[in-house]
């Protein structure tokens, strides 16, 4: 049965203790480095010291993070907390997909990589029907044309475009 504190708590309770402990440990480690990572400049006012604002930030993180941990409705880790932490690890895969996409664009080109990435990712997500995969390809083309060709956002031309013949090479570098 849940306690009044647990009933009044906003959000899920599972995982809170792990997050709060991790946050506090991270803040305390950073605060312990303040002597090495910031400088105290002589003949400078207290509020203008380079160390002042990192100290405010980290001091606040330790103080309020500690108080948050103390006020948690349950401070003893349970199996449900570990299950929640396992769920936190799941998006790591998507983050790696994203980094792979980032690394491939300057080599193979924004248009080809996007046209491959979107349907591949949709396939990974469990979509197997051809119309939705083609919709993914179409979405990729629209994104590239809109941002690179129309809005001219700064995405460099791919290394592979160097092998294209004269006019086509500059057209692809500029637009795709």
């Amino acid at each position: 049965m849940s306690t009044p504190e647990q009933r009044r708590f906003i959000g899920r309770i599972s995982g809170q203790i792990i997050f709060a402990l991790g946050f506090l440990a991270f803040s305390a480690v950073l605060l312990s480095q303040i002597g090495q990572e910031t400088k105290w400049v002589k003949k400078t006012a207290f509020f203008a010291q380079p160390r002042f604002w990192p100290a405010i930030g980290l001091g606040g993180m330790v103080l309020f993070g500690g108080l948050h941990l103390w006020r948690l409705p349950r401070r003893r880790p349970q199996r449900t907390d570990l299950n929640e932490a396992r769920i936190w690890a799941q998006p790591l895969e998507y983050a790696l997909w994203f980094i792979a996409y980032v690394l491939l664009v300057p080599r193979l080109g924004y248009l080809p990589v996007t046209m491959g990435f979107v349907p591949l990712m949709l396939w990974r997500m469990g979509y197997r029907r051809a119309p939705i995969l083609w919709a993914g390809v179409g979405f990729g083309v629209v994104v590239v044309v809109l941002f690179k060709a129309v809005l001219q956002v700064k995405i460099p031309g791919a290394a592979v475009y160097e092998y294209l013949p004269g006019g086509l090479r500059s057209f692809f570098i500029l637009n795709f």
């Binding site: 504190e5 009044r8 930030g57 998507y94 996409y101 300057p106 979509y127 939705i132 979405f139």
Partner: protein
């Protein structure tokens, strides 16, 4: 009059008109898709607007901000899922109307109420612009520091029952902002001798990570939801007539929206809560609220749409954003070397008025678009979650990579995406991190400048506005501590209801001690020892 004509001239440019159209239609579409929201869209589009003129870029972003709430009402009314977070209250009365077969009436009323809220707030601001222009120059470094401090305190205290973690996350934002080469003494702060940290962590990278990538991860990790949409019957213009029958609720709700929008950190939720409570208390049929009341729907939609224009006031007049979306817009100003604040009102008033007029036109465009395109628009509500997740992931790349073509930025954004995902899972707020970064930067610069001119700490508040702001900070803190005390009392009462003894640990120990020391305790122990079986041990 000259200012007005000059601002009309700015608005008549073809690129500004195109930006208005794109922003308004795009914002409605984004709002109508549950799971995307204006924060994700603005974060993604932000770097793309850097190459545009400030007025064009800001018009697109403002368009998305202002019109997303119109679109957000569609899924809130039709499938009981708010398109944007601020449409949550719309579901209370909108969806019951749909269940009764009055979906079109609910949509029409929501559009009309939103339109009224939007127009009312812009007119208020145009009317008050000359007064603001007179007050804004009275804000020096000290006043801006105190206003930023007030903003950060309001943002933290607005997260009721999550204040401690909101404060910790705001401090995390202040810390992130301090990383890198510090601009006055040129010393490194928390760079750990890594070259990529010397230039600091970019606000937009953090914003994209916390809002766009985390949302993509959240959608990809979840399941697709099946949605059934009711067919729309009837006219969409009836809402305007129905709104005209409730002028008092509409006006009061819009006024709450304007007032709450102007206060940093407060925003739509408080405005909606106040408006809805007022509408319910003053209604002849309060029992209908939550079961499809037209007044409830008007209160919710009018107040949230009155906020965007009002939220631009602290940003334009003082350079202080009150929430995450205006914090993102601040970076558009910085990129173009336009410094929002008192000087903007003094030197570039046509620009300010043009922005307000753009918001006014935007509301008209959105209403017209929605009245004619709702039937087609409701299809986007059905987009599957994981498909959307893939789309957001793809679009996030444009936002992060186009900033500096840096893979490191993308890795940092991915890390913040994972942090944002954890925060989302735990229902913890990520907005304090962004506001801590933005307001922390402002406070650092303004405190240094302000303290250079004061001899004693009391001199810091010797000017009227500084003193008023200081009193306001004390007032907000006092109110917050009072609320914490009342919450604590309420919790104790709740515990008392299920427990007969005192809930205090001290009292528990004291009772135990008394028991052990009293004569009765001794007697009881003596009696119990008599009853216990004699020892059979032989010495």
């Amino acid at each position: 009059m000259d200012v007005f004509l000059a601002s009309i001239e700015i608005l008549m440019r073809w690129d500004v008109i195109l930006a208005l159209l794109t922003g308004s239609v795009g914002g409605v579409l984004i709002g109508a898709i549950p799971g995307v929201g204006p924060a994700v869209a603005i974060a993604i589009l932000l770097p793309a607007t850097f190459s545009l003129d400030p007025i064009v870029g800001l018009t697109v972003l403002l368009g998305i901000y202002g019109s997303s709430m119109y679109g957000g009402a569609i899924p809130a009314i039709l499938i009981n899922t708010p398109g944007t977070a601020v449409n949550a209250l719309t579901t209370y009365d909108g969806f019951p109307m749909t269940s009764r077969g009055e979906a079109r009436r609910a949509l029409s009323l929501a559009y009309s109420a939103s339109f009224f809220g939007g127009i009312f707030s812009v007119l208020c601001l145009i009317f008050f612009a000359p007064i603001l222009a007179r007050i804004a120059p009275m804000f020096g470094s000290r006043e801006i520091f105190l206003a930023a401090l007030l903003g950060i305190i309001l943002v933290i205290t607005a997260h009721r029952r999550q204040t401690l973690i909101a404060a910790a996350l705001a401090c995390f934002g202040i810390f992130i902002n301090s990383i890198g080469l510090e601009a006055v003494k040129y010393t490194k702060r928390y760079t750990f001798d890594q070259a990529f940290l010397s230039s600091g962590i970019n606000l937009i990278v953090v914003v994209l990570g916390l809002f766009a990538l985390s949302q993509a991860f959240y959608l990809l990790q979840g399941d697709d939801e099946k949605t059934r949409i009711t067919k729309l019957k009837g006219g969409l213009f009836q809402g305007l007539r129905e709104l005209a029958r409730h002028p008092r609720v509409a006006t009061v709700s819009a006024s709450f929206g304007v007032l709450m929008g102007m206060i940093p950190g407060v925003g739509e939720f408080t405005a909606q809560f106040l408006s809805y409570t007022y509408a319910q208390k003053s209604s002849k049929r309060p029992e209908d609220f939550g079961h499809g009341s037209s007044e409830g729907l008007i209160a919710a939609e009018t107040s949230n749409n009155a906020v965007p224009a009002a939220a631009m006031v602290p940003l334009l007049a003082l350079g202080i954003p009150g929430e995450a979306l205006t914090a993102m817009m601040l970076s558009v100003f910085y990129v173009h070397n336009v410094v929002p604040g008192p000087q903007l009102f003094q030197n570039d008033m046509p620009f300010v008025v043009a922005l307000y007029l753009a918001l006014l036109l935007l509301n008209v465009l959105v209403l017209v678009f929605l009245l004619f395109a709702t039937n087609h628009l409701i299809r986007v509500v059905k987009l599957p979650n994981r498909f959307l997740g893939v789309c957001i992931l793809t679009l996030s790349f444009v936002g992060v990579y186009s900033l500096r073509n840096s893979v490191t930025d993308c890795i940092i954004a991915a890390v913040f995406g994972l942090i944002g995902f954890v925060l989302k899972r735990l229902s913890l707020p990520s907005v304090p991190i962004i506001l801590g970064m933005v307001l922390g930067g402002i406070m650092e610069v303004k405190l240094r400048a302000g303290m250079a001119r004061v001899k004693s700490p009391l001199d810091f508040i010797d000017r009227p506005i500084a003193f008023i702001l200081f009193v306001m900070i004390l007032g907000v803190l006092a109110l917050h501590f009072r609320r914490v005390w009342l919450d604590h009392k309420e919790l104790r009462e709740e515990k008392w209801a299920i427990k007969h003894a005192s809930t205090r640990f001290g009292a528990h120990l004291s009772r135990r001690r008394n028991f052990l020391l009293t004569e009765r305790g001794k007697q009881v122990r003596a009696r119990r020892s008599m009853l216990s079986r004699p020892s059979t041990d032989k010495n």
